[in-house]
Amino acid sequence: MKPCHEISLPDVLLDSCDAATESEVQSHLDNCHACQQQLQRLAANQQTWVEVADHLSTADQLRLSQSMKQKLADTSAFLIAQPSSSATRDAQPTVSASPSLDAEQNWSQVLDPPKHPEMLGQIDHFEIESKIGQGGMGIVLKGFDRELDRAVAIKVLAPHLACNGTARKRFAREAQAAAAVVHPNVVPIYSVNQSVDRPYIAMQLVPGRSLQSVVEEDGPLQVKSVVRIAIQIADGLAAAHDQGLIHRDVKPANVLTERDVTRVMITDFGLARAVDDVGMTQTGWLTGTPHYMSPEQAKGEDIDPRSDLFSLGSLLYFLATGREPFRAERSYGVIQKIINEQPLPANAINSDIPPELTTVIDRLLAKDRVNRFQSASETADLLRDYLAYLQQPNQLKPPIKAAKRGLTLWSWAWLTTFILIAAAAFALFQQQFANDSAFAKSLAGLANIDPQNTTDPQYEPPNPETSGTNLTFDDDAFLRELKDLDRDIEQLEQQMGIDNPEMPEYPQVIEDESPQFPASPIEPNSDSNKKQDPFESPDRPKSLTIPSTAPKGTSNDTSSD
């Protein structure tokens, strides 16, 4: 049995440890009275335990019948729809409580009778061949444009949305805005129709699968594929953001892949906004999946382009691990998690994911948008450098700093030693030259020389944020890292000195060393996955420009002062 001090009860409580640790703790708790008590105290104090038991023991009296619940919900439905800010909304829309069901029943009514017996129907000059899909917003039909002789995808706004004036106008306005975005990674919009009875958008038919289907059918993607796709999505988003258009619903189902081609295209720009208006009015909840919402969306706050970056982070997480970062049984739980909880790092689920990619995803998933990358183009540029590195790992340095949690104790020991040596050397250096102001000035004049590099040419700054990418230096983040470092060193000392003097014998890992989770719910990418992966084609899409010249991200062109 493990001794008490090796048991981390808080981790167990938060369900954040792996299966092996948990079973160890479990068997420890079988017999250790002190830890049993401690765990309970950690969960709540004595009084809370008693109160909870008292109240919940009579809680069954509070259970309402389903019909009563419905009646009550009806009395206050208006509240959730319009708490104090309903100025822009139309008068109460006449809709049923279950929009998707409604749409299912009515969708065929939007078609005119077919002119050709093999067709499903007709919308204006488009012959409708089949139904491709259906979502909270409406239906997607496969059609053929007789006039221009080309296949099209037609998205018809669901009847329950079409009857809402605001939603309809917004649908048309956003579609028109999206039509102005011309980019290889954005599905082109051909025409927008905003008739009252049948508003629709005609767009390019992309004959392939959505990323949702790709991952569902083939499993998580290879790291390079994830990065290639990420670059393209970020590029597409950047083009839209430049036009002042926010996507609002970046998710795998809205990114289409061309068949057997490495290009991906984003669809449904801004359309989520049309649903936002009425989606809330009906059930109090957004229609569709909330898994990729940003915290600011989940809270109903104003959003800016950085909201799309959060969703991009969730999407990349999904591509790399095969699961959404925030999961719960119900939408409500998902939203709560998006707002309040940090997801497991991606490489805790799929250990093939390098720490750098995990860091990028974590950064995109920052709750506060000021801590994310600040623009889609910045994200794309960084990822481009990273892809170049992945392709030539021996010649380039990673443009992204790896997450600390990916380091083993040993690497920590080395890193700490390096830093201590560097710091000592730098202190000496300063002491020696501090009074020589002339020298100091000339030193300041020497552009691009990092004093630490001057002192110790072997010193590798652990902070490549200054190395040629668009990342700016963030004082606060730096201070935080210093604090983290302090804490880690302290921990290290404790573990080396007191608890585990023979540490070097074991390749032991820091508490949430995630890449080595043995109980990963997702099988790591196997060779078979590699073969299936449609994005591992040797041809690179045109939109990707790999810097062919010397490393962009080395410390040579670092400029810091």
């Binding site: 167990v12 409580l13 938060l14 369900d15 954040s16 948990e22 703790v25 479990q26 068997s27 420890h28 708790l29 079988d30 017999n31 049993q36 765990l39 309970q40 950690l42 969960a43 709540a44 809370t48 335990w49 109160e51 909870v52 038991a53 109240h55 919940l56 023991s57 009579t58 809680a59 509070l62 259970r63 309402l64 009550l72 919900a73 009395t75 206050s76 208006f78 509240l79 959730i80 708490p83 104090s84 800010s85 109090g284 909840w285 989940a298 809270k299 109903g300 706050e301 719960a328 049984e329 119900r330 409500y332 739980g333 939203i335 709560q336 707002i339 309040n340 909880e341 940090q342 709750k367």
Partner: protein
């Protein structure tokens, strides 16, 4: 891990923020059944109690911007219970006016039975109960059935750990982990909701 409860804006502040549907949904889920039961306990018929509940909610929505969250000015719960009380009285009065046949003593009795300062205890107690019930319902689905059972049997039904372990075919350690995990989550859930825990002062409702 997750943000500490302190960083989370209190429910009231969130309710004021335009478009915070999550906050409103939570508010409705917790307070609505409470107000409804209060109205029923004062003798209102189901349909009337529903109307009254709707009215209370509407007034809260309208007036939330003016509510002073300063605890010295009374708690949020107190404010809501005051709104409820006034509406119940109003309702009974207007009903009385319509029913001329009703004799004075009965209406007097009804009005006297309307929540009074001593009822604040009732309201506070019921609020806590409702809140815990709500939180339990909310988090239940995020646990496996046995985890939940382990919590419920050992904590609420107060069956000893050994028996619970045997019944559910779990180890003792697993039962301890299960009940503590549920409790921690329950606590976190309600911490986001509790407004100022100051109890109402006598006379505040008058």
């Amino acid at each position: 891990m997750s943000e500490s409860p302190k960083t989370r804006a209190s429910l009231i502040l969130r309710l004021r923020r335009p478009g915070d549907e999550v906050a409103w949904a939570e508010f409705v889920e917790i307070y609505q059944p409470l107000i409804f039961r209060l109205a029923q306990s004062k003798g209102l018929q189901e349909a009337d109690a529903l109307d009254l509940t709707q009215e209370v909610m509407a007034r809260v929505a309208k007036a939330i911007d003016r509510f002073d969250p300063n605890p010295d000015r009374g708690s949020f719960r107190g404010w809501i219970s005051r709104i409820t009380r006034n509406l119940v009285i109003e309702f009974l009065r207007s009903k009385h006016r319509r029913q001329i046949t009703a004799d004075d003593s009965s209406i007097q009795q009804l009005i006297e039975s309307v929540p009074s300062p001593s009822d604040s205890q009732w309201f506070n107690f019921e609020y806590k109960r409702q809140l815990l019930f709500w939180a339990a319902e909310k988090i239940k689905d995020s646990f496996q059935e046995t985890t939940w059972q382990a919590f419920w049997l050992s904590s609420v039904d107060q069956i000893d750990i050994d028996s619970v372990a045997k019944t559910l075919n779990l180890s003792k350690g697993a039962v301890y982990i299960a009940r503590s995990r549920v409790m921690a989550k329950l606590k976190k859930k309600i911490e986001g909701q509790l407004d100022h825990p100051t109890s109402l002062q006598p006379g505040e409702l008058s």
